[in-house]
Symmetry: C2
Subunit: 223 residues, 2 copies
DNA sequence: TGACTTTAGTCGCAAAAGGTGACTAATTCG
DNA sequence: CGAATTAGTCACCTTTTGCGACTAAAGTCA
């Protein structure tokens, strides 16, 4: 079902497709028939006339039938040798998919990040880069919002941030920061989730605001 | 189909070598003899058994005779078509070189960033990525310190930050942040630079400290 | 010499941002 | 009804940050 890369190109495009499954992050893996029963990231050989970004989206579409809601290149990975495609290097991408719409095509399976099967060293490096990149982009791009349905409660949003960051956040601080950023607006709907007070639903609706004007920071520990 | 010279790989490794020349940032360009008199970033074809990072360092050594003091991968660039190597994609790197030691080999020339000759679209994208990456790493890695001699005045350090960030900084705030970060220690030397009070010399000497524990931020403007 | 200029280095205030516990509100469960 | 549970807000305090104004030590020049 997948071709080996032609001899003219010696690189592959690999994508880490991430979604939030319940309380855990999960990524999509595949086990191609001819690939020695090892799980691998969805990948694709470059096609002429196709940009790298387009190729990563195509790889996602092959796996899920739809493009990711956000994607970014992670870089080129080549230092570890073994890769399913036997390409010399791989250009890695991360893509995010809301879980509601995330039913994989045959041959692809979601794996929780906490419990991944063995991957090639190179693909493991790509997955680690994906996690780091997501976390560092979290305050620069509305990533978390796009993993949620169009309307959501603030608790759901906070849980998504906690999931992606891998740490707990204080409720009041989270909401105050969100308030100050003018990123969400309330709807007039409320949702009762079993026990407890019903929560108001919000939607992502960013308002223009001036860019925070900060000086320098020295946020590194040593060399 | 167009016939291409046979090569084992269809990607190149390109490096943006940056230095501080007086009051300006400069990058190193070369004009290979057979390359239609266009200036280009130093680049290199991958060699078997050589990692990407090692290849970028070798490219720098070919250009300057010494390795950069710091380097980082920028990613893979392939969307713009024209590239001196005619490689399908290029893996871009940034490297920093202190200007004291930065005498280029024949064929290589420093160009101030403000006044670059025309480059291929792809290499222009790599240069822009280099600038962005430097600026975002500035508070995460001791980049600016390594562009300075082993001992330096705090004004020189601030000027280096201003040069790399492309904006002015407030003196008192800069020094306070630096103080709090335990990154420099004073020497007992002072330097008199023409008129004005002599400045104390400092050296980079980071002390261990606990990582700042911050919550979330929403630092993006819109989508 | 003494006023003026220039660069270095520091202080302290006011405002903004951030951490956190405790409070009120609305619902379900038994 | 009262306890439990989840949502939402407040108030207080600490830390961080922007910034103007100050002191210090040199050179310049009349």
């Amino acid at each position: 079902m997948r071709e080996r890369p032609s001899r003219t190109s010696s690189y592959s495009i690999d994508i880490v497709l991430m979604t939030a499954m319940g309380n855990e992050l999960a990524i999509l893996l595949t086990r191609g028939s001819a690939e020695r029963e090892r799980w691998a990231l969805p990948w694709r050989a470059p096609q002429t006339g196709e940009t790298l970004g387009a190729a990563s989206i195509r790889a996602a579409e092959d796996a899920l039938g739809e493009p990711p809601i956000w994607a970014e290149q992670l870089g080129a990975f080549g230092d570890a040798k073994r890769h399913p495609s036997e390409a010399e290097i791989s250009v890695g991408f991360v893509g995010l998919v809301p879980h509601q719409t995330a039913s994989p095509n045959p041959g692809y399976t979601w794996f929780p990040m906490r419990d991944l099967p063995p991957l090639s060293p190179r693909q493991r490096a790509i997955v680690e880069a994906a996690t780091r990149t997501i976390q560092s982009r979290l305050d620069q791009a509305p990533i978390a919002f796009r993993l949620l349905p169009p309307t959501f409660t603030l608790s759901e949003l906070q849980q998504m941030y906690e999931l992606l960051l891998g740490k707990r956040l204080h409720k009041a601080s989270f909401r105050r920061a969100l308030q100050g950023a003018w990123l969400v607006e309330p709807t007039d709907e409320w949702r009762s989730e079993g026990r407890g007070r019903p929560a108001q639903l919000f939607r992502y609706a960013p308002k223009k605001r001036r860019r925070p004007h900060r000086g320098v920071r020295f946020d590194f520990l040593y060399p």
